[in-house]
């Protein structure tokens, strides 16, 4: 047989993993025990981090990449993909995570940004990246840098879904505008939203983002998760919403089912019964701008 050439870390392979996560729930976990609960509930992946966003919010200080030992512990505990967060622009945290064999990196505004001008050039890496976005321009800038998956930023750690809804609605509106624009108008739109022209062109032709788009930031209930699917998200990240609630195992399972069957309201009503208290949360409308995380990222 002729020698077969094997290629790793390609765009197709990186985008491919994101495609496989669609219709699934990715859960924040801070230790191997939580990771096992998440896997048992049916999570498609876990996000290993030291503190869930609501604790980062409450405790303040600088939020950094997690301890490698903790990440390794979680990698050993589960067979599903393990993701981890790097600070915006922190090339070295990303390289460390890649060296640890992490399956996906979230260059995340939830951690304290390391660079206030530049994001990581994600196309330099073999490991796939996901990034947050509030609108189409921001999403396409991240994709231009090499992100193979986008998520709404929402407002992490609040348990308030309003910002995530705002972000997906805004992305959808922006996409509709691009789709209905003439080819002659595309360059000016690209300039206006600060997005690479070639990617704007792709959005016009596909009628959607060229990569998978998940919901994140404020999902606390099965109905929240299903709402984001209804609005066109491909899947859902749940951060503090699960392990800051009364019954994480049951709630996690209910959210997984609500996402898979998001059109089936009777089923979602059924799985929403008796979940106990959801995370306490705080209303974004009452927060001061300085306390909001979503503004981080450029």
């Amino acid at each position: 047989m002729k020698e077969i050439k094997i290629e790793t870390g390609t765009v197709a392979v990186k985008r491919g993993l994101a495609e496989m996560l669609k219709g699934g729930v990715i859960m924040d976990v801070v230790n191997p025990e939580q990771a096992k609960i998440a896997e048992e509930a049916g999570a498609v992946a876990v996000m290993a981090l030291e503190r869930v966003p609501s604790d980062i919010r409450a405790q303040g200080g600088v939020a950094r990449m997690s301890d490698p030992e903790m990440i390794i512990g979680i990698q050993q505990a589960v067979s599903i993909p393990v993701m981890a967060k790097a600070r915006i622009g922190h090339i070295l945290e990303a390289r460390l995570l890649e060296a640890l064999g992490i399956d996906f990196i979230d260059e995340s505004e939830v951690l304290t940004p390391a660079d206030d001008v530049y994001h990581i050039l994600k196309s330099d890496f073999k490991v796939p990246f996901v990034c947050g976005a509030r609108n189409l321009g921001e999403a396409l800038r991240r994709i231009g840098e090499g992100a193979v998956m986008i998520r709404t930023k929402g407002e992490a750690g609040t348990g308030d879904i309003v910002e995530a809804v705002r972000h997906i609605r805004r992305v959808n509106e922006d996409i509709r505008r691009v789709v209905s624009a003439t080819y002659m108008e595309l360059m000016s739109i690209a300039k206006e939203i600060g997005a690479p022209y070639e990617l704007v062109l792709q959005v016009k032709e596909l009628g959607r983002l060229p990569v998978v788009n998940f919901a994140a930031g404020g999902v606390a209930t099965p109905a929240d998760a299903a709402l984001m699917m209804e609005l066109g998200c491909d899947g859902v990240f749940v951060g503090s919403g699960i392990f800051k609630s009364d019954n994480p195992a049951k709630r996690a399972k209910a959210i997984v089912e609500a996402v898979a069957h998001y059109k089936d309201a009777a089923l979602i009503a059924e799985v929403s019964k008796g979940l106990g208290k959801s995370m306490p949360g705080q209303s974004v409308a009452r927060m001061e701008d300085k306390d909001k995380i979503a503004g981080r990222g450029w």
Partner: protein, 194 residues
């Protein structure tokens, strides 16, 4: 060949859209399968790539695992890609996860390693014709060995990556991630055999 044919796609999680696109390109009507009643009237079923533990649990909860296992053992053609290959297998090394258990195969999950070891390559697959098939492997499994009755369609470095057993077809790679529809076409031929 394909007029009036209806193929179900297990639509709980994973690369559903991609399989739909491949089949629509071939002029085949598709049905999303979320509940056992969705299996009615389909001529074949696809189990897409995704996360096998998630899919297995969701199938169990609403009676799909049992219903699909029954349909498969009664001759419904089923194509399983990646996660689908795992679910079709009777034996999964180091795992007691839920499965259909229809093929006499022994599967190793995440067999090539983590995502960094995911890869793409041109592989010769004689049954699909002379032109090699562009295979994409994402945290892929492989079939370590298979009992009698399983036809090996692609073997690479001793690992079985594409196999057929009667009405069941399984790939360790993702034909739905490419524009090449030859695996789907080969699968649709299984419908005509009945």
């Amino acid at each position: 060949m394909v007029s009036g044919m209806k193929v179900g796609i297990l639509a709980l999680q994973g690369a559903i859209r991609e399989h739909r696109k491949s089949l629509h390109r071939l002029g085949v009507e598709t049905v999303d399968v979320l509940n056992p009643q969705d299996l009615k009237g389909i001529n074949a079923l696809i189990l897409p790539g995704g996360e096998s533990t998630t899919t297995g649990k969701l199938m169990l909860r609403y009676g799909l695992l049992e219903a699909i296992a029954r349909a498969g053992s009664q001759g419904l053609p089923i194509l399983g890609t990646c996660t689908g290959l795992i679910l079709l297998s009777k034996h999964i090394n180091h795992s007691n996860q839920h499965r259909l258990g229809l093929m006499d195969t022994y599967v190793e999950r995440n067999a090539f390693g983590r995502q960094l070891e995911s890869f793409e390559a041109e592989m010769p697959v004689p049954v699909l014709g002379e032109k090699p098939f562009h295979t994409v492997f994402i945290r892929a499994p492989y079939i370590e060995k298979a009992d009698e009755g399983v036809e090996v369609l692609l073997r690479y470095q001793g690992k079985i990556l594409f196999a057929k057993q009667d009405n069941l077809l399984a790939t360790a790679f993702h034909p739905e991630l490419t524009d090449d529809t030859r695996v789907h076409e080969y699968f649709l031929q299984l419908i005509n055999q009945d």
